[in-house]
C-alpha cells in the first residue's frame, strides 16, 4: 500500500525553489477579497515527489509494458518520435493568441492535418476544435441539427442509434438536446435496411453508425442504408471509433456518410494518457462546411490565419484551437506512415484479430457468425452456465497472469461479452501468449465446480471493493 502525498508531508520541506522576486511587495488584495482560510498543501522534497510518482507509474499497466487488447479502444503503440516532436519548445512555448505571423508553423500543422484527415476519410472540410470522441459526436450532431434548422426543418430532432452503439452516442444526442430512437440489430449483428426504413420518418435528423460496428462486423448494407436515410431527408453520422480497421481502404465519405469524428488517440496512435487528453476532429461533406465551429483556419498567399467570418457556424466549442500537442502527434504519425503505411496498418490490425479468432473459436464461442475485421466479440454465456465462472472472473484471472483484460460486458446486447482488439502493433508472440493464457483459464474453469473464483495472487492489490466505494464515497484525503 502506498502513502498519499498528504501522508508524506513534513512541515518545512519543499520540492522547488523560485528565483527571488526583486520587485517591491504590493501588500496583497484588499481584506474584503483576501483569503481567510489557510491553504494547506503537502510539503515534500523533490526526490520524494519523484519517487512517489515513479512508484505510482510503475503500478499502472500500459502499452509499453504489454498487450492491452481493449475492444473499441485501439490501444496501439504510441511512437516515441511523436513524443519527441511534441516536446519541442517551438511547439510547447507558443501562446494561442500570438500574432499570426509568429505561429505559422502551428497553423500549418492544424491546416495540413485537417487536409490529410479529410483525404483519409473521404470528406471535404473539418474542425480540430474537439477534445475527444464524445465532444466530436456532440459537434457533429449540432452541425446536423443546425443544417436541418437552416432549411426550416425544426422538427428533425431524433437520432437513430443501433442497440450495440457506444454509450457516448445516446449521451451526446442528449447533450445536444436531441431525442434517441434505438435500432434493433438483426441476428447477424447488423442494421437491417427494412427495419431501419420503418423507423425513418420526418422527425429523424440522422442515423449514427460505427462501421465496422462495435461487434467488429462490417455493415455490408451501408450503401443501401445511406440511400434510404438520404431519401428520407436525414443525414448519416459516422462514429470513427473503429476507423483503424479500414484506414485508407474504404472511406466513410464514399460509403455515404455526411459527417464523422475520428479518435486520434485510437486510430492515429496518440497516447491515451490514462484517460486523456485525446482529440476528436470532426470532418464533413462540403454542404455542411458553413456550420463547422469557429474560427476557421484559412491559407492565403502570405500564410495561414484564423477567420472568424463564419456566420452559419454553430459557434465555439473549446476555448482555443483544440488539443494542439495531441493533434501534432497525430500529424507526425500520418506523415511517418504515409497513405500506404496507414492502409498496411489497417490490414495487419485485421489480420491480428482474425488470427485470434481462428485460435480462440473452438474454446469460446463468438457472439456472431459474420466476417470480423479488427476486433472480435466472444460470449462467455455458455461457460457461465456450465461452470458459474463469468466474464468478470475470467478478466480477473487474466490480470493475475499479468495481461490486461479485453473490454468486458460491452456491447450490451451480447451476454457475458468479451471484446478483443489486438491492434496491428502486437507481435505474433505476444498474441500467442495472450491467447494461450485465455485458453488455459477456460480449461481450468471447466475443471472446477461452480464455487471456483480465480483469486488474485500476483497483483499489487486484491479484488477492489467497488460497491463500497460508491455506497460511501471517499473522494479526497
Amino acid at each position: 500500500m502506498n502513502l498519499l502525498l498528504s501522508e508524506l508531508s513534513t512541515d518545512g520541506k519543499r520540492g522547488y525553489q523560485l528565483p527571488p522576486s526583486r520587485v517591491p511587495s504590493f501588500g496583497g488584495l484588499p481584506l474584503s477579497l483576501r483569503k481567510t482560510e489557510e491553504v494547506i498543501l503537502p510539503s515534500i522534497g523533490e526526490l520524494e515527489v519523484v519517487r512517489h510518482f515513479t512508484h505510482l507509474a510503475h503500478q499502472t499497466y500500459n502499452v509499453d509494458k504489454g498487450i492491452y487488447p481493449l475492444g473499441s479502444c485501439t490501444m496501439k503503440y504510441n511512437p516515441k518520435i511523436n513524443e519527441e516532436i511534441a516536446r519541442n519548445p517551438l511547439f510547447t512555448d507558443i501562446h494561442p493568441l500570438q500574432d499570426a505571423s509568429t505561429v505559422q508553423g502551428s497553423l500549418s500543422v492544424l491546416y495540413s492535418l485537417t487536409k490529410r484527415l479529410c483525404s483519409i476519410v473521404g470528406m471535404d472540410d473539418g474542425t480540430l476544435q474537439s477534445a475527444g470522441g464524445a465532444q466530436g459526436e456532440y459537434i457533429g450532431l449540432h452541425i446536423i441539427k443546425s443544417y436541418h434548422m437552416s432549411r426550416g426543418n425544426n422538427k428533425r430532432n431524433t437520432v437513430l442509434i443501433p442497440t450495440n452503439a457506444h454509450g457516448t452516442n445516446p449521451a451526446s444526442a442528449a447533450f445536444c438536446n436531441m431525442d434517441v430512437r434505438e435500432i434493433p440489430v438483426n441476428k447477424e449483428g447488423l442494421v437491417d435496411v427494412a427495419t431501419l426504413s420503418e423507423l425513418l420518418d420526418d422527425t429523424c435528423a440522422a442515423i449514427m453508425l460505427t462501421n465496422p460496428n462495435t461487434l467488429g462486423l462490417y455493415e455490408d448494407s451501408i450503401k443501401a442504408i445511406a440511400s434510404v436515410v438520404h431519401s428520407s431527408g436525414a443525414l448519416l453520422y459516422y462514429d470513427g471509433a473503429n476507423l483503424n480497421a479500414i484506414m485508407n481502404i474504404v472511406k466513410p465519405g464514399e460509403m455515404g456518410f455526411d459527417v464523422l469524428h475520428v479518435n486520434v488517440h485510437k486510430t492515429f496512435s496518440t497516447p491515451h494518457g490514462g484517460g486523456g487528453p485525446g482529440a476528436g476532429p470532426v470532418l464533413v461533406k462540403e454542404f455542411l462546411s458553413p456550420f463547422l465551429p469557429s474560427p476557421h483556419i484559412i491559407k492565403e498567399e502570405d500564410g495561414y490565419r484564423f477567420s472568424r467570418d463564419t456566420p452559419m457556424s454553430i459557434g465555439k466549442t473549446l476555448g482555443f484551437w483544440g488539443n494542439f500537442l495531441v493533434l501534432l502527434r497525430a500529424y507526425s504519425y500520418i506523415t511517418h506512415l504515409g497513405d500506404d503505411g496507414l492502409r498496411y496498418a489497417a490490414k495487419m490490425a485485421v489480420l491480428n484479430a482474425n488470427y485470434m479468432k481462428a485460435r480462440l473459436k473452438e474454446y469460446i464461442p463468438l457472439s456472431h457468425k459474420g466476417h470480423y475485421l479488427h476486433e472480435i466479440v466472444l460470449s462467455l454465456k455458455q461457460l457461465k452456465e456450465e461452470t458459474g465462472i463469468n466474464t468478470f472472473d475470467v478478466a480477473k484471472a487474466l490480470i493475475d497472469k499479468g495481461f490486461h483484460p479485453p473490454t468486458i460486458y460491452f456491447p450490451l446486447i451480447v451476454p457475458e461479452a468479451m471484446m478483443i482488439e489486438p491492434t496491428e502493433t502486437e507481435s505474433l508472440e505476444d498474441i500467442d501468449s495472450f491467447v494461450d493464457a485465455l485458453i488455459e483459464i477456460v480449461r481450468v474453469a471447466k475443471e472446477h465446480d461452480a464455487s471456483f473464483a480465480p483469486p488474485l495472487f500476483n497483483t499489487i492489490c486484491g479484488r477492489v471493493d467497488e460497491v463500497n466505494a460508491a455506497r460511501k464515497p471517499i473522494l479526497h484525503w
Binding site: 482560510e37 447533450f175 511517418h336
Partner: protein, 449 residues
Amino acid sequence: MYTYVPHSDHQVQHMLHTIGVNSVDELFSHIDGVFLSSYEDDIKGMSEEEVRKYFHHIAIKNKSGLSFLGFGIYSHIIPSAVSAIASLPGFVTSYTPYQAEMSQGYLQAIFEFQSYITTLTGLDAANASLYDGHSAAVEAINLMCKVGKKKKKVLISSTLHPFTIEVIQTWADVHEIELIMTNECKGCVDVSSIIALLDNDVAGLLVQSPNRYGFVEDYSEVADKIHSFGALFAISSDPLSLALQKNAHEWGADIAIGDTQPLGLPLAFGGGVCGYMSVVSSLMRKIPGRVVGQTVDSRGNRAFCLTLQAREQHITRFRSTSNICSNHAHYALTSTIYLALLGDVGFKEVATQSYDKAHYLHSELQKIDDVVVNSTTPFFCEFPIAFQTKEKLEKAMNHFLNSDVFMGVPLFPYTHQLNDTATVLVAVTEKHTKEEIDLFVSLLKEVLV
C-alpha cells in the same frame, strides 16, 4: 514495410494459414469498393529521421518571445521534474483505469488531483478533469439546469472570458435555456443587477474571478440571494489565484470550475489545458465525468477505483450527467505533480510573486500620461491598459513585436464595448524578471514619444 508492425513475412504466412485464407486482402473481400493496393496519388511515408527534419522545419516557422499574453493561458515557471515524471510510460501509455487492480498508481494520482482541487476550492467533491475551463462552464450550467429541472433561465456575468460566453452560447443554442447577462460596473459584475434579475425560474448564476479583465470580484451577499430562489451559484477561477483570493467555499458557492493550465502546463498553442470542477456534497452524484474513490481490497488494504459510475455515459447512456468519456487525465496528473513539488509555501509564493510583479508593471505604467490603467479595481496578475485610440494601440503592439516582445491581448476582436477597442490586456507572472518588466515600460515610452 516497417510501420510499427512487428511481423515477419514468415509469421504472416503462418497466421494466414491458421485463419485459412491465402492473403490478407481476402479478409476484406466481402466489402464493396475497397482499395487494397497503393495508388499514384498516395502521399508517401517518411523514415523517422525524415519526420524529425520535416517537423523541425515546421517548428522554426513559429517564434517564441518575451510574452505578456494571458487571457486564460499563462506562462509560469515549470519545474524540470514535472515533465520528467509525467513522461513515464505508466502515465503516458495507459488507458482509463477501468481495471482497478492494474491501475492503482494512476487511480491514486487522480485521487490526489481531486484532493488538491477540493482543497483549493474548499468544496466537497472534485472530478478527475474536464476538457478546459470554457467547456467546464457548459458542464456547470448543464448541472444547474439538471438540478433546476423545469427552470429555464441561467444568469451569466458579462465579465466572463468572452470565449467562455461563446462556448456556453453554442451549447445553449440547442437547449431551451435563456441566458441572461448581468451588468458590470467598473469592470466587475454588478451585484445589484444579479439581485434584480433573480426569480424562481433562474437555475443558477455563473461568475468569474479573476474576470476577463484580470479583476478580482466581490461576491458578498450573492450566495444568500441566489439560494433564497433555490438556484445554484458557480464561480470560475484561475486556480493559482485561490492562493490569495477567497474561494468558492468562502463565498458560499455550490460549484467551482476553471482550468489548471497555470499549474505546471505549457502554453502549447492553447492545447495543454485541463478543466476542473468541484461541487458541494449535495451535488456529488450529479457531477459530470470520471471520479476516483477510495475503498478497500479483498486483503483489507486501502485501494482506489473509478466510482459513482451510474452517472456516466457507458452505464446510463441517454440519461447520463454528461457525454464526456475521454477527459484530460494526463494534464490533471501533470498539475498534481506541479503542486506536490511546490507545496503550500511554493504555491503561495508563485501567486504572490505574480501579483507583485503585475502590480509593479501597473505602478510604473501609472506614471505614463498617454495610457490609462485603472487604479481602483483590485486585480491578480493581469490588467487592461487603455490607449487613446485603436491606431495608437496597434502601433505600440507592432513596435513591441519588432523587438520580439508580445505586448498583450488586444480586446477589440473579442468585445463589442466601445471603451474596449483601444484596450490591451497584459499578464505578468513570477517568470518575468524585473528587467523584462522594465523593458516593457521602456518599449512603451519609446512608441509613445
